[in-house]
């Protein structure tokens, strides 16, 4: 928004400047304003000059360019930049701002103005108490007064946002006519309380153009001001004086000074404070609240913290020990509940991921999840190995088939699968538990490797026999993968089976039998037939 600053200088004089403002409404109404003979109070050459807005059509283009996007910001910044001649622009800006819902942070601008101006400036803001109450009704006049007051001191105070953010366009319109009134001091009185309120609103508006933020900050600022004002003097008096002070440049009266003093302090602190403190203060709380709400919804990890915070806040508010204890208990329950909800939610998600999971019991569901995860890991391993192996076509692999005998197969396999050496071990290791698990779980995770041996002797038949089972095999079929030659697949088991003790082999075979329907049911027969099948392979049985 500061980029447009230079351009805004010209825009100030424009009637249309406010028109093409960001908010459409104000713009629309703005055109009507000139027709209504809106008198603008311009600060020209150190004097407040009333001009009809129609008189200033200059520099429309520049403003138009920026109005849509930058108007509020630009005008405010522009004001800041031009201390003196800006008064006119301020007025214009004020009009603009009045129409603009967004308020600018005139507070941002360092107040390098004369003390009197500051006093006047602050006075309005500082004594928003009554205005706060009357704010709604007095908004229009307030703004106008603000503008007026601002104008006068604006000479030195460049950035003074002309008018409290005109929350409503209609208010702006009303303000315009009132604007003329405010050139007079009489308006000050009425404007005082409301203007202060408006000023407060303006000040609160500060950087953010958010009306709600403004309100929040406004309330905060008003409180601050109120406290400050009360400390020093009667609010009414101060406000009046403050209102009076700004209205008349010459106001430097005792009351004004008193207020100015106060206002000055407030002003100094408020612009920065409000800008820095109010806004940040305003935003963090709201943001914190929003954050808390978001966190409660989104981040499960932080939900407990949120609850704890809220509970703690409640505790603090109550301030009673018993309440604290109850709060603590509540917090604990809440956190516990949140934790359980999170866990249940995760369990449901996990259940959805697991295929064919019809368990409603948590424990069994977790069991299945574990098994599924293992099988999935195996599958991925096998497939990746297969991807790596297939391209590595060993030209004479076929001849190794027959060699996949009892011991030879293992040696050959190990040799061929040198790069995959670790994998077979892993597979064997994982195959055992997987096999056991599979046996327990039933055919859900059939193990093709075990099926392979049971297939008829010919490799092709073995493959075919295994193939139908493949779809059901999630885990161990992958064991076959590393062997480019499918005939080696059964051998794959053999080496391991041979590695294992005979009882292991029998166990494996037994499990295989359980898992798959094999013609060779007998344990010993299976292994023997398997071996025989291997030996019978077209090749060199060994």
């Amino acid at each position: 928004m500061n980029h447009c600053v230079p351009d805004f200088e010209f825009e100030m004089d424009d009637d249309e400047y406010p028109m093409p403002t960001a908010s459409g409404l104000p713009r629309q109404k703005k055109p009507s304003l000139p027709e209504d003979d809106i008198m603008e109070l311009l600060w020209q050459n150190g004097q407040v000059v009333m001009q009809s807005q129609n008189q200033r059509p200059q520099r429309k283009p520049p403003p138009d360019r920026y109005t849509d996007s930058v108007i509020p910001a630009g005008s405010s910044t522009a004001r800041e930049i031009r201390p003196s001649q800006q008064l006119e622009q301020h007025y214009q800006n004020q009009h603009i701002f009045m129409q603009e819902d967004e308020m600018i942070s005139w507070l941002h601008y360092p107040i390098v103005d004369d003390p009197p101006l500051d006093h006047n400036f602050c006075a309005d803001i500082l004594y928003p108490q009554s205005p706060t109450v009357n704010n709604s009704s007095m908004q229009n006049p307030d703004r106008a007064r603000q503008a007026t007051q601002l104008r006068q001191p604006s000479r030195s105070v460049a950035p003074r946002p002309p008018i409290p953010p005109p929350r409503k366009p209609e208010q702006v319109q009303t303000m315009i006519p009132n604007f003329a009134h405010f050139s007079k001091h009489n308006a000050r009185v009425e404007a005082g309380p409301s203007s202060s309120k408006a000023a407060m609103k303006e000040s609160t508006v500060v950087d953010s153009c958010d009306t709600p933020a403004l309100m929040a900050s406004a309330s905060r600022v008003s409180e601050t001001f109120r406290n400050t004002a009360e400390r020093d003097e009667a609010p009414g008096t101060l406000s009046t004086a403050g209102a009076a002070a700004p209205s008349s440049t010459s106001v430097g009266g005792d009351t004004g000074f008193r207020e100015t003093t106060t206002c000055e302090m407030m002003a100094m602190s408020s612009p920065e404070g409000s800008s820095g403190g109010v806004e940040p203060a305003r935003r963090p709380p709201s943001e914190d609240r929003k954050r808390k709400g978001r966190e409660a919804d989104e981040s499960e990890c932080h939900s407990e913290d949120v609850y704890v915070e809220s509970a703690e806040v409640k505790k603090q508010n109550c301030g009673s020990s018993s309440t604290k204890r109850s709060r603590a208990a509540e917090v604990h329950n809440l956190s516990e509940r949140r934790r359980r909800d999170r866990i249940n939610e995760k369990m449901r998600a996990l259940q959805e991921l697991i295929p064919r999971c019809n368990k409603s019991d948590k424990a069994s569901m977790l069991d299945e999840a574990i098994e599924y995860l293992k099988s999935l890991q195996l599958q991925v391993q096998m497939m990746s190995m297969g991807c790596g192996m297939v391209p590595m076509m060993f030209p004479g692999i076929q001849q190794y088939m027959p060699t996949m005998g009892m011991g030879m197969g293992m040696g050959m396999e190990m040799g061929m699968n040198r790069p995959l050496m670790p994998f077979p071990n892993m597979l064997a290791a994982s195959a055992m538990p997987a096999a056991a698990a599979v046996a327990q779980l039933g055919p859900r995770f059939p193990m093709p490797p075990f099926q392979m041996p049971h297939a008829p002797q010919p490799d092709s038949s073995r493959m075919q026999a295994a193939a139908p089972n493949q779809p059901e095999n999630n885990t161990l079929p992958s064991l076959v993968t590393p062997d480019p030659n499918q005939s080696r697949i059964p051998n794959f088991n053999d080496p391991y089976q041979q590695c294992l003790g005979p009882h292991h082999q029998m166990h494996l075979q037994f499990m295989q039998n359980q898992v798959t329907n094999n013609p060779t049911v007998s344990k010993s027969n299976t292994s023997k037939s398997h071996e025989n099948a291997e030996n019978n392979q077209p090749g060199q049985p060994e």
Binding site: K346, K362, L366, I370, L376, Q377, M383, P448, Q470, P471
Partner: protein, 92 residues
């Protein structure tokens, strides 16, 4: 009655809690992400979350690998043993 209920509840809760603890530890061992990090205290929800993510990743890997295998299948002789292996892998 109430005692029975409470007992049942407590027993079931105890069982569930123990089971859940055991299963969560198992899952923790399986999921490398949790296993590698300092797992002195990992909440159950965290483990479950990581497991879900891990399973999704594995699914994605399986899909990618299946696609690669399919491509490989097209490049080699369809009648070869490798092709059959690849097919078996893909059909898992």
């Amino acid at each position: 009655m109430s005692s029975r209920r409470s007992r049942q509840q407590s027993s079931s809760t105890r069982i569930s809690d123990d089971q859940i603890i055991e299963l969560v530890s198992k899952l923790r061992q399986l999921v490398p992400e949790i296993r590698d990090r300092r797992s002195s205290k990992v909440s159950a929800s965290k483990v479950l979350q990581e497991t879900c993510n891990y399973i999704r990743n594995l699914h994605r890997e399986v899909d990618d690998l299946s696609e690669r295998l399919s491509q490989l299948l097209s490049t080699i002789d369809a009648d070869s043993a490798e092709a059959s292996i690849i097919r078996s892998l893909i059909n898992q």
